[in-house]
Subunit: 338 residues, 2 copies
DNA sequence: TACGCCATTGTTATCGATAACAACACCACT
DNA sequence: AGTGGTGTTGTTATCGATAACAATGGCGTA
């Protein structure tokens, strides 16, 4: 009859191998000083016993968890997913694991999430964006671990930064649109208060129009983030009714831009001949759809990779002052605009 | 001058509040027996000291981590992201946190990942798919925690199952296509050995064609997974050259189906008049694109929600035998087919 | 031969919260 | 007054791995 037995510990493996627990512990580390022979014997005994290494005990004693905590606004967004993937790929080579949480584009939720993640004692904390509640800032600043803000260039960074200026990127698109002759340019984005990157992009849009002396009233608020394809399509419908003479529209992301494009297709409106469309983020869909989307490549994967490098450098003690990596977004001209 | 001081512990908070560490511990739990007065005093002292609860110690002593480990093939896939989000939303209400890893559609990588995740002592383990290496199966079976296989209906489940038959779902689409008159039907999917759900879908496709006495040679292998828009477009190009008289094509996902659609648009081939297209997964893009995509809704979010409910039931001791939740995918007819 | 270095292994105390048990005060009810 | 229950707090030992230090044996070199 099977009795419910407790799972084996290192002590059990040690007994079976005829060594001390400490030797078992060393055998499970990569580069520690155990003879090849002993290590193999230990690992064999462990496999036979069905031993599974217990990180919780290791974490407490060694005061290391090998977690990298990451917050992103949404798990369903290909841009953020790309960043996380690049980050994860890079740090997992070093045995570090991503601990992921999403904020739903809400700074209050972000605060809760940050507090929860910090309890797990991660080695570093990566947050998306540079706007946080005062308490979240305080928690991060006092956590005693490297903090990296991404996808933004905050004026007063908490620690390290790997990002770009959302406002500047959109401004460059506007400059291009104006240079090729568009004058009645609209913006489709989310409600102002929530998605801070979206708000920055809209601010850059308005600033650029003012700079060119153009009308800034063509702003369509597509609801609370995330603004995806459906919201983009609806917003384009509103735009066409409220400002029928619009000759170009810039959308907060490629997803909404694609939605807007399809709405034009449904209404038989020629893109780009009657209205041009610009997106943001260089999602796969923008390169594939017909006509393909003019957009801005923000180098999502590169943000993740650079963040990983920065974290590894800090953990290795190679960097003792806050790092600031600035990404330069790229305007990609395709078929939805001149 | 600031000396580097160690972060405060419960003992520090206890001293400051004038109570025992145990009382502090209770104050940080939700429903434990501390007076409202004491709790507030403790939390105030904690806040003043900048105390952050240390999960690593709690995890070891209580033998609970409140982690739910989850493996998905790719973090960049909206279907799996939907499942994880629904799962996460449900379990986080109960203080459980998702520990996510991705396998890159590779069972060997899955094995490594499962081993790594089990070391963290999760309360339950959710895996995507029902095909695993023998060692992975053994690790899961011996882990002593609830195991839930999803997005599949394995013949010999390890533990619980929340899924559907990929083969059957595609078979139903084929049946519909045949019933409305399509006869030369092709399939676009990934290379056979990798993505097991994709392979199941192709198997269902072939079985259905055989049942109807139709030609089964129109199979396009679009490379190793993930098969996304670009691969779908390339595969459609191949299909049109190798089997120009094809009258319908079923794609392994909506992403590849959309890519295929755009290739037709680039070549001026009428959809669905000259060739019909079917997708899989009911991604947002399929509902928005023009023409909209005929597809199969596999209820990704529902899989996550049902998985969460199952986990909570098991952890509450309300379920002592393996659960098997079968999802019934839905054929959604839209504009890319009759 | 003697010395010291290196590789390998062992011993002891500890990381910080909490399970299990004990104790105390206070109140209601008989 | 005595009894029992409830709500609140305290005490002690412990979860399982490992940091820090110690010890051993083998080998090369002077």
């Amino acid at each position: 009859m099977d009795t419910i037995r407790k799972p084996p510990t290192m002590a059990d493996v040690a007994r079976r191998t005829g060594v001390s627990p400490m030797t078992v512990s060393r055998a499970f580390k990569r580069d520690s000083s155990v003879s090849q022979e002993t290590r193999e014997a230990v690992l064999l005994a462990a496999e036979e016993l069905g031993y599974v290494f217990d990180s919780t005990a290791s974490n407490l004693r060694s005061q290391r968890t090998d977690f990298i905590a990451v917050t992103i606004p949404s798990i369903n967004n290909a841009n953020f997913a790309d960043t996380v993937r690049a980050l994860s790929d890079r740090v997992s080579e070093r045995g570090l694991q991503i601990l992921l949480g999403y904020t739903n584009y809400d700074v209050a939720e972000e605060e809760r999430l940050i507090e929860q993640l910090l309890r797990r004692k991660p080695e570093a904390m990566v947050v998306t964006g540079g706007k946080h509640t005062p308490r979240a800032r305080k928690l991060l600043a006092n956590a005693g671990i490297p903090v990296i803000e991404t996808w933004d260039l905050p004026e007063e960074p908490i620690g390290h930064v790997v990002g770009f200026s959302n406002a500047l990127a959109v401004r460059e698109m506007v400059n291009h649109f104006v240079s090729v002759g568009y004058r009645k340019i609209a913006f489709i984005g989310g409600d102002a208060s929530r998605d801070t990157r979206g708000t920055d992009r809209r601010a850059g849009f308005i600033a650029a129009l003012i700079h060119h002396g153009l009308d800034t009233s063509r702003l369509i608020a597509a609801g609370p983030p995330p603004i995806s394809m459906r919201e983009g399509a609806n917003a384009m419908g509103q735009l066409l009714e409220r400002f029928p003479d619009t000759d170009a529209v810039i959308c907060v992301s490629d997803l909404s831009a694609f939605g807007a494009l399809t709405e034009c297709q449904r209404r038989g409106i020629a893109v780009p001949d009657r209205i041009a469309i610009g997106g943001f983020g260089d999602y796969e869909i923008g390169a594939i759809c017909v006509p393909s989307l003019t957009t801005i490549n923000a180098f999502a994967s590169e943000i993740g990779a650079k963040t990983a490098e920065l974290i590894l450098d800090v953990l290795d003690g190679k960097l003792d002052q806050p790092g600031r990596v600035t990404i330069r977004p790229d305007l990609i001209l395709r078929q939805t605009s001149r």
